[in-house]
């Protein structure tokens, strides 16, 4: 008889403030387990964003720094430059990373900061009540696209992973999803791999995780997973967009 699944020590023993069925909770667990399994919890400094996961500093069981909206990569840069040997990660939402924080994430990748970023794309601004994000799908209704996102007005959704993958310093970029147990397990492996890249000193790694927001999508949790699968994955294909550790030459030339 063996316990094969239990609460990770990477999370503090508190209940989160997330809405029922919000997949932020799953992603928190994956990040925490990856840190625990890699044995870096006591050397880790995490950066929480502004967004629904703003209170991540209460949940991850390691030193944490709460950043300004969008600036987590800059804050993480400041931390990593001071402690090059510690494990530094940022956890960001799509409003945080793909909108207000665009410059900061592009340039963290550009400098190939040796940090790990977990990018939770739920195609909406969860925290502030469901406004449109750059990642909101065409036609998707939000409180600031009440008739559905109109590409004529607001453009087509931004694919961050594809964009960042063109940057020489972006060592590792992969998109995963947490809509099924299989995908959750896959996501865990990818997050762990991204973290290892930092431990190997190989530079910037980002994992984009497709996530749900049952509350602001107005869809109950199980159907939200289905919606993610049927609507988000076709536009945001899963897979690796760059793994410079496997490229012959990774000098940006």
């Amino acid at each position: 008889m063996a316990v094969i699944f239990e609460r990770t020590k990477g999370l503090t023993p508190v209940s989160t403030h997330y809405c029922p069925g919000c997949t932020h909770g799953i992603i928190h667990r994956l990040v925490a387990e990856a840190m625990e399994e890699l044995g870096v919890l006591d050397q880790a400094i995490g950066v929480a964003p502004v967004g629904c996961s703003v209170l991540a500093y209460k949940y991850f069981n390691c030193d944490m720094h709460e950043a300004a909206h969008g600036r987590a990569p800059a804050v993480a840069t400041g931390i990593k430059r001071v402690w090059p040997d510690k494990f530094v990660f940022a956890y960001q939402g799509d409003g945080d990373l793909a909108s207000i924080g665009t410059a900061e994430i592009v340039h963290a990748a550009h400098r190939s900061e040796n940090i790990s970023v977990v990018f939770v794309n739920n195609a909406i601004y969860g925290m502030t009540g469901g406004q449109m994000a750059p990642t909101t799908l065409v036609g998707q209704r939000t409180t600031t696209s009440p008739l559905g996102r109109d590409p004529k007005q607001a453009g087509f959704p931004l694919r961050i992973s594809e964009m960042l993958a063109t940057i020489p310093g972006a060592t590792f970029i992969e998109r995963v999803s947490v809509d099924t147990p299989a995908n959750v397990r896959k996501a865990k492996r990818v997050i762990k791999r991204a973290f290892e890249i930092q431990l190997e000193g190989k530079g910037f790694a980002l994992v984009e995780v497709l996530s749900t927001c049952p509350t602001n999508w107005g869809i109950e949790p199980t159907l939200a997973l289905k919606w993610l699968r049927e609507n988000m994955i076709p536009y945001y294909p899963l897979g690796n967009f760059r793994d410079a550790t496997k490229e012959e030459v990774s000098d940006g030339q």
Partner: protein, 353 residues
């Protein structure tokens, strides 16, 4: 140690390195860029890290991160660049982290000019960010004083866990004067047991944060901050006063304009006038105590600034209607001349005679 001739911007850099600063995050802007340039060459030699950020916003947030780690960290910019840092500064103040910010002021508003100015007085002392917070603001008037106050700034930042702003201007940043880097000793400072260093399995996680979702909690935090600011107000006011005893008029000026004012004062005193100079060194806390030193002979205060007159508010607040307050200044990057100040003084004194 012998004196060396150095540009103000470079002297700040050297002083910071000597004060133990090992991290600098900045973005180029005239008239401050030499500080960046100096750091880019010399900080690595001292085992530190210089990073040119993608913007002032990123720079101040890198400072936020590094300060959270307990590092001695500095950033520098000039007026519009400082405007961009306001949110970040508010966060750092809210999270009670020590750091040193240098503003080599230039003409504004907006893009303005690149010439020397002091028109960020309000931005410096009243905070352009949100919420109830204060910076400790030093306004040195010479390169030597800038150098001395770099060490003091880092120490005070650590002591109070508060960002410190050094308010210079284009003249101080660009000019050269002989300067001595005395091996000023750092004061005894508390250990930074709040810093994010990784728990090492030895303590509960540390959190750097300015969020208090519960309003009552935030109010408690605000009260705590207020008490800290009150302490700073009590203990950190600094100023220099020259010839104020029995002065018929006292000039109130800081930084570069204080030097110009001093020349004007010397000239007039040679002509038999009794003019004094009160030079705030801390812009916040404003040196209210300095005004207690003024005696009844002094009927006039003349504020001199390289702005349209921003410090006047603070002088009015301290003055409480006691003396007549006049103002003379140039703005937009024009440096007031000694004679302008002299003429204004004579005009005031004649008017009241």
């Amino acid at each position: 140690m012998a004196k060396v001739l150095m540009k103000g911007n470079e002297a700040i850099g050297e002083a910071a390195i000597l004060a133990g600063c090992r991290f600098f995050f900045g973005y180029p802007i005239t008239p401050q860029s030499e500080l960046l340039e100096y750091m880019s060459l010399h900080l690595p030699k001292a085992g530190g890290t210089f990073l040119q950020a993608e913007s002032e916003v990123a720079a101040i947030n890198m400072v936020y991160g590094a300060a959270g780690c307990g590092a001695r960290v500095m950033t520098g910019s000039s007026s519009p660049g400082i405007a961009l840092k306001q949110e970040g500064i508010s966060y750092i103040a809210g999270a009670e982290l020590p750091c040193v910010i240098v503003n080599m002021m230039r003409g504004g508003p907006g893009l303005g000019s690149i010439q020397p100015a002091q028109s960020d007085y309000n931005q410096s002392t009243r905070g352009g960010g949100d919420g109830d917070y204060k910076l400790l603001v030093y306004a040195p008037a010479s390169i030597q004083e800038m150098v001395d106050y770099v060490q003091i700034s880092f120490d005070k930042a650590d002591q109070y866990r508060n960002p410190v702003l050094i308010a210079g201007d284009g003249v101080l940043g660009q000019m050269m004067e002989p300067v001595e880097f005395s091996s000023q000793k750092a004061t005894d400072l508390p250990a930074k047991d709040w810093a994010t260093t990784g728990t090492d399995g030895k303590r509960a996680p540390n959190v750097i944060n300015s969020l208090y979702l519960d309003a009552e909690e935030l109010e408690k935090h605000n009260i705590h901050l207020s008490e800290k600011y009150a302490k700073m107000k009590e203990n950190e006011q600094r100023w220099e006063s020259v010839g104020i005893e029995g002065a018929e008029l006292v000039i109130v000026a800081y930084g570069t304009t204080a030097r110009i004012a001093r020349s004007a004062m010397d000239n007039l005193n040679k002509q038999g006038r009794k003019i004094g100079l009160l030079r705030p060194i801390t812009l916040w806390p404003y040196p209210e105590k300095a005004f207690e030193e003024l005696d009844d002979a002094t009927k006039h205060l003349l504020v001199v600034e390289m702005s349209m007159g921003q410090m006047i508010d603070d002088v009015r607040i301290v003055n409480e209607g006691k003396r007549k307050i006049d103002f003379v200044g140039r703005s937009g990057g024009v440096i007031p001349s000694t004679s302008l100040v002299e003429e204004k003084i004579l005009e005031i004194l004649e008017r009241s005679e």
